[in-house]
């Protein structure tokens, strides 16, 4: 008897320690990145680093503004494309599709998430780039190589699509049939029921799914750097090339480290990415809590 209780206590403590250990990794990474960025932070202030657009490492000029904007553009485009598509797909799979179609579709969606990023990159280069260059861009701008934040956004959208679909589907499945029946039995159509009852009830879950997808999109590297053009300038339209932070780090880390402060600058890029994701998560957590409170009141 005593032994059983003891076991229970020890296990609970053990789990606490393990949980703290894994959570503290975030702290360790943050501190590590900051420590490595100290050299460049001694030379230039935070304000200069973040707002300057000039990127000339050989002259000691490190402006991160283009990279921050590149990251935001690509991620923004990706979520704008992916969210409506994923939401409608999830709604179709959970609310409309027959059992047979469901059985057929679900594996395909999951398969998408299993494809390695580099294959998406190749697909982007071979298919999306020419599509933008020859068929989309000519309608809007005079010239585009196709390598653009739009290409990055499209490839990224396809990559985060299965993640959003699976989370939203999971959320939709938790909504009780009786609640939908209540709306249907009043003579509402299925779409009215979805719009006014299901989506309303699922809203916090949909926001949470979006947050996860955006966090993942911020950090996606290889597929994006293959199609983005990687030009250190602030994009002004979706057809301009961009240079997201992860691509900057992946392209340059380990090379040209003889340039003074270059190593530290790349670490600062990582720190920036880390902070962007952290800030984004904190802000969305606040929004989510407010939303849940508003729905409950």
């Amino acid at each position: 008897m005593q032994l059983r209780l003891l076991k229970d206590k020890i296990l609970a403590k053990l789990m606490l320690v393990l949980t703290l250990a894994s959570v503290s990794v975030i702290l360790v990474i943050g501190i590590g990145l900051y420590y490595k960025s100290v050299p460049i932070l001694h030379r230039l202030s935070w304000g200069e680093l973040i707002t300057s657009s000039v990127w000339k490492p050989l002259k000691g000029l490190f402006g991160f503004y283009p990279f921050i904007m590149g990251t935001l553009w690509v991620t923004g485009i990706a979520i704008i494309i992916a969210l409506p598509l994923s939401l409608l797909t999830a709604l179709y799979i959970t609310e409309y599709a027959s059992v047979n179609i469901k059985r057929l579709l679900a594996p395909f969606v999951n398969l998408l998430s299993g494809i390695p990023p580099v294959i998406f990159g190749v697909w982007g280069v071979l298919f999306i780039i020419p599509l933008i260059q020859n068929h989309i861009a000519p309608h809007f701008v005079e010239f585009s190589t196709g390598y653009s934040v739009l290409a990055g956004g499209i490839v990224l959208a396809v990559m985060i699509f299965p993640l959003i679909v699976s989370i939203i589907s999971e959320v939709l499945r938790t909504i009780p049939q009786e609640l939908k029946d209540a709306s249907l039995s009043l003579g509402a159509t299925q779409w009215e029921t979805i719009k006014k009852v299901v989506l309303r009830k699922a809203l916090p879950g949909i926001v949470a799914a979006t947050v996860l997808a955006v966090s993942r999109a911020f950090g996606e590297t290889i597929a994006v750097l293959m199609v983005c053009g990687n030009n250190a300038a602030v994009p002004h339209s979706v057809f301009d090339p961009g240079y997201p932070l992860p691509a900057l780090i992946a392209n340059n880390y380990g090379e040209m480290l003889s340039i003074p402060l270059y190593d530290s600058a790349l670490m600062f890029a990582a720190l920036l990415l880390f902070i962007i994701i952290l800030l984004f998560n904190i802000i969305s957590r606040v929004i989510l809590t407010r939303l849940e409170r508003k729905l409950a009141s």
């Binding site: 009786e178 209540a182 039995s185 009043l186």
Partner: protein
């Protein structure tokens, strides 16, 4: 039962997957009466109730044959419009399921869907139905509060008001008091009795005393078949069928 039936079920068979849930059901439900469907768990009484407003449609692998006539209109006819049929019937489920919105919006939900936009008209409807279910005095100062803040008993009455707001002819109750405390239960039961002046009420219940208190007629269902149908006192006190006798005495459950 000389009057014309409100719901007329003819040779209704329901299969879900490989299971034969309802077997050749034929019954006439009289107008403006309270009818209780009783029977042991899993006998098909809820399925029978849900077949009246086509809520079975969304069940996977369901197969329905036969006819259900409501006001002489076959609701399973290929041309029948399902929203129109459902609007005729208010459903009160086992547990209250208020919609995720305010008390006011819950009641106004149905009327809004069916095209009522004017604020004054909606206000009047909401007040009327909340009064009809005895909820008005309890909630009139907090109509914009979330419906989930109400007690379970109040929520169930709100769900009833929500159903009445679309102007149905029939109220379907699926063990509507099973989650409620005795006080809320008797409020709902009294509501059913007073509402039969205007509505036909069909209740599924497993509480014989409740069936006796509120209903005019009782349908006894066993293993997917209707065993006996008759006026309440007659069926409970003097059942004709052996199975009914055993169930009423409590031998089978």
């Amino acid at each position: 039962m000389t009057q014309t039936p409100h719901i007329s079920v003819q040779h209704l068979n329901v299969h879900i997957g490989n299971q034969h849930i309802l077997k050749d059901i034929t019954i006439n439900i009289p107008d403006k009466k309270v009818i209780s469907i009783i029977g042991p768990s899993g006998c098909g009484k809820t399925t029978l109730l849900k077949s009246f407003n086509r809520l079975l449609d969304n069940t996977p692998e369901v197969k329905i044959t036969g006819k259900v006539l409501v006001d002489n209109e076959d609701i399973y006819d290929a041309n029948a419009e399902v929203t129109h049929i459902r609007k005729k019937m208010g459903l009160l489920s086992q547990r209250p399921f208020p919609l995720p919105m305010s008390i006011y919006d819950n009641v106004a939900y149905g009327p809004r869907i069916h095209g009522i936009r004017k604020k004054s008209e909606l206000d009047q409807l909401v007040e009327e139905q909340l009064k009809a279910t005895g909820l008005w005095n309890e909630v009139k100062d907090r109509l914009n509060a979330s419906a989930t803040r109400l007690s379970i008993g109040q929520q169930q009455r709100l769900c009833l008001a929500r159903g009445l707001a679309v102007g149905p002819e029939i109220i379907l109750g699926d063990e509507s008091t099973s989650a409620l405390d005795p006080v809320s239960t008797s409020i709902i039961e009294d509501l059913f009795i007073s509402l039969k002046e205007k509505y036909t009420i069909v209740l599924v219940t497993h509480i014989l005393r409740q069936a006796r208190r509120v209903s005019d007629y009782i349908i006894f269902v066993y293993m997917g078949k209707i065993i006996e149908f008759g006026p309440t006192e007659e069926l409970l006190l003097n059942p004709k069928e052996e199975l009914t006798k055993e169930y009423v005495k409590g031998y089978i459950s």
